[in-house]
């Protein structure tokens, strides 16, 4: 560890996070940043950590996988970060995990979902691990006999998307599902999906699995419609946000199924409260699942800190040692926006139940046997 | 044996027969002039002699070696150097470096030697500096050696081009309108320089020029080109009296 000669604000406990605030992926970084701000405020309003206030610092890493991510991390350290709720994306996270390990800083990423992110013992995730989602999706489709012929459209240049795809594929094979079309796109060509759609259509796929983000998914839905192709669409948490795209014809989403821990349109009180608070604070924006993950992340931390009696003058390393143990304690569990009874193992992965939801009448609703019957009947 | 023997050279551009059936023989040590109206094809002949254009017909033999159809680099190595009608210097390099570049094929050391500055580098660079300065002195450019070529006045640029051509140590020097843009005094100086070069470097010179004072002052023989074809050739004084040459080219 190099000189920790940074200014240290001694009366608050400083949470740090880095994520993209500029560039292509800025929306994810901003969502997480907003949610952290909201959560920190909520914690402080409720009396802070045994009286000590929380504060946060957020740095732009442009979702970079190299020096920019490390720069952002170092800037956080210089700003007195004691615990990290980050980073937002896998790319940047992989670039800093060894640093947090060296510096012994506790790291709880809200949204970086690759498996490798949590390979060190000081790193934990709020979101699902990509392979889990891939496996979960394949299992769900197989168990509910949603389809016989499946097409996949994924982003081969993205770790999240190809991570899910890789495990989905092997699990699907194991479960005897028939993947008739494996179509990918890349970061550089993510607006035109005509070739992928026509491949899926020609292969006669009746379900298209979309382990991608909602923005591309919305284009795929639009383009499928104009290509006269109406399969069942199935996706993961990345699809959350579909309904809140400004000015998007949400009727196209009718019948889209997804496995997600969070849905902004869900009717439970906690979600409703959070969504309302978020909308009020940020020009009526609807929070996506990463915002929810980040909110949960801060809340989990606050809970643990209270329990461990963390104070502002503790060193990052001491805090890390305490929180590491506390979070993977068998008795610790947390009920949050993205799941009830969330628990963490020593591997750093979270165990929580994904909800299978379907978009019906412009809102999410839990997936029922009837829905499944209806969709397979088509 | 003649130094340069060109037989039946010809080239076309699209439909235009720019040069046709052109032959010329130049003896070693001669100062030979190529004249003719604008657009007659003089520069085009230079371009074929130096491999810029590939002739469609004919042969070019230099010092007994057939160089027809060879590329510019091979031809330069075989012994022909030239200047250009529209000056082509290495503008962003110093006067000295312009000449040193042309010494390239005579002072060889590898890129590796250069990058790691082995002793050979220092030895050869020193020799090149000396040689280049010696050449520049001939053209009275030695005190401008460290200036950028682009900053030189027009007349000096022409002289530098000749110095650069000489540095490749050719057997035959082609000069394309060396006196263009010079006033009579400067032209007279240039004539002395060309003679000096011929005598002291054992050079053979073929030049294109429209300035009759230079042509009649230094050329021993002339070929006159008109519409791509040889109009006449012979001793300078005689050619300049030829009535056909007078009507086609000289006027009055």
């Amino acid at each position: 560890g190099c000189g920790n000669g940074a200014k240290k604000n001694s009366d608050t406990i400083v949470i740090g996070c880095s994520g993209p605030l500029t560039g292509d992926a800025a929306q994810y970084g901003v969502a997480v940043k907003n949610a952290i701000e909201l959560a920190v405020k909520d914690v402080n309003d409720a009396g802070g950590i045994n009286g000590t206030k929380l504060s946060y610092v957020f740095e732009d890493d442009e979702a970079d996988s190299g020096d920019k991510a490390v720069n952002a991390y170092n800037a956080l350290k210089d700003n007195g970060m004691q615990v990290m709720v980050g980073t937002v994306t896998t790319a940047s996270c992989l670039a800093v995990i060894e640093k947090t390990k060296q510096d012994n800083i506790f790291q709880l990423t809200p949204s970086a979902s690759a498996q490798d992110v949590i390979k060190n013992d000081n790193c934990f995730q709020v979101c699902f691990t990509d392979p889990n989602q891939g496996k979960g999706s394949a299992d769900y489709i197989a168990e509910n006999k949603l389809a016989t012929k499946i097409a996949v459209i994924y982003d081969s240049s993205d770790a999240y998307s190809s991570g899910i795809f890789n495990t989905f594929k092997s699990e699907a094979e194991a479960k005897g599902l028939d993947i008739v079309a494996e179509q990918s796109f890349t970061k550089d060509s993510k607006t035109d999906f005509s070739a992928q759609i026509s491949a899926a259509k020609n292969a006669g796929a009746d379900l298209v699995f979309l382990p991608i983000y909602y923005q591309q998914a919305s284009l795929i839905l639009t383009q499928c419609k104009s290509a006269n192709y109406n399969p069942t669409f199935f996706g993961c948490d990345g699809l959350d946000g579909l309904l809140s795209i400004k000015n998007f014809d949400t009727s196209l989403c009718e019948g889209v199924m997804l496995l997600t821990p969070f849905a902004a349109e869900a009717q439970d009180q906690a979600t409703q409260d959070f969504v309302k608070k978020y909308k009020d604070a940020y020009n009526g924006e609807t929070p996506n699942q990463f915002a929810a993950d980040a909110y949960d992340g801060v809340m989990v931390l606050a809970e643990l800190m209270k329990k461990e009696g963390i104070t502002a003058d503790m060193s990052a390393s001491d805090i890390c040692d305490k929180l590491k143990k506390a979070i993977s304690d068998k008795d610790f569990s947390y009920d949050g926006l993205t799941g009830t009874g969330m628990k963490w193992g020593e591997d750093g992965a979270v165990s929580k139940d994904p909800k299978a939801v379907i978009i019906k009448n412009g809102a999410y609703s839990a997936l029922t046997a009837d829905d499944i019957a209806a969709s397979t009947a088509q | 044996m003649a130094l340069l023997e060109v037989k039946n050279l010809g080239i076309s551009f699209g439909g235009l027969r720019a040069v046709d059936e052109f032959s010329i023989t130049i003896e070693k040590g001669q100062l030979y002039g190529l004249i003719g109206p604008n657009g007659a094809g003089k520069t085009t002949i230079f371009n074929m002699l130096t491999g810029v254009y590939k002739p469609t017909d004919g042969t070019i033999v230099l010092d007994g070696k057939n160089i027809t159809g060879k590329n510019t680099i091979e031809i330069n190595r075989a012994g022909i150097a030239r200047t250009f009608q529209n000056i082509r210097l290495f503008k962003d390099m110093t006067v000295l470096d312009n000449v040193k570049v042309a010494l390239h094929n005579h002072y060889k050391y590898s890129t590796f030697t250069g990058v790691f500055r082995l002793p050979r580098y220092f030895k050869l660079e020193k020799a090149m500096d000396a040689k280049a300065l010696e050449l520049l002195k001939v053209f009275e450019l030695d005190d401008k050696a460290s200036l950028l070529a682009s900053g030189l006045p027009y007349g000096d640029q022409r002289k530098l081009e000749i110095a650069r051509a000489l540095a490749t140590q050719p057997k035959l020097l082609l000069l394309d309108e060396p006196a263009a843009g010079m006033n009579p005094n400067e032209t007279a100086e240039l004539m002395d320089t060309i003679r000096f070069v011929r005598d002291n470097f054992d050079m053979t010179v073929l030049l294109i020029e429209h300035d009759m004072s230079l042509v009649s002052g230094i050329c021993e023989k002339l070929s006159v080109l008109n519409f791509g074809q040889l109009l006449c050739e012979g001793k300078t004084a005689e050619v300049l009296k030829n009535p056909e040459v007078i009507t086609a080219y000289l006027g009055e």
Binding site: - | G155, D156, E177, M182, M212, Y249
Partner: protein
Amino acid sequence: MAMLEINDLHVNYGMIAALKGISFEVNEGEVISLIGANGAGKTTTLHTLTGLISAKSGSIKFNGVELTKTPAHKIVEMGIAHVPEGRRIFQNLTVLDNLKLGAFTRKDKENIPKDIQDIYERFPRLAERKNQIAGTLSGGEQQMLAMGRALMSRPKIVVMDEPSMGLSPILVSTIFKIIEDIRKSGTTVLLVEQNAKKALAISDRAYVLETGKIVLSGKASDLINDESVKKAYLGE
């Protein structure tokens, strides 16, 4: 009042002073020569005149209008045409297109074809090559094109920078004849020439430029007999 009045003109290239305060004038209908050695500043003078480079100080008045503050394209409209050193023809356009661009500022569209015919008569070679890409013309042909192009704007005054450079003797005579024709047709000419003898022969007056300063001026017929001019510029 003279048509063109240049007063104490200074021009710099970066740190280098190319013109160090020159003054001269050109009257309507005259042919004026500027002579001088290489690098004396002749081209620089003409470039400043037509606005291609800007003056450091001094003034240039054309029929009373200050040119140093006028943008180049306005200067052309006012009736000054420039045959630049090195020709500067449009390399990738045809001969005809080049001539048409010469008439760019003209409002009398209907007369343009006739003027093109006139140019073709003066330079028959251009008529033969009217559809050739100008960049592939021989040097002499390009010079003819540059002159023809300048005349297409029907200027009040033509400034010419070494128009005889690279031309065959017969064409040099032609060019000087054309210059005389031009002056006869009422156009004023400001001529920069290395061929001082010929230039002086057709000029009314001349100025001698040396390293950015005018060192001598007077009637052309006087200068041609001046010993120092003879020695320095006429090669006698």
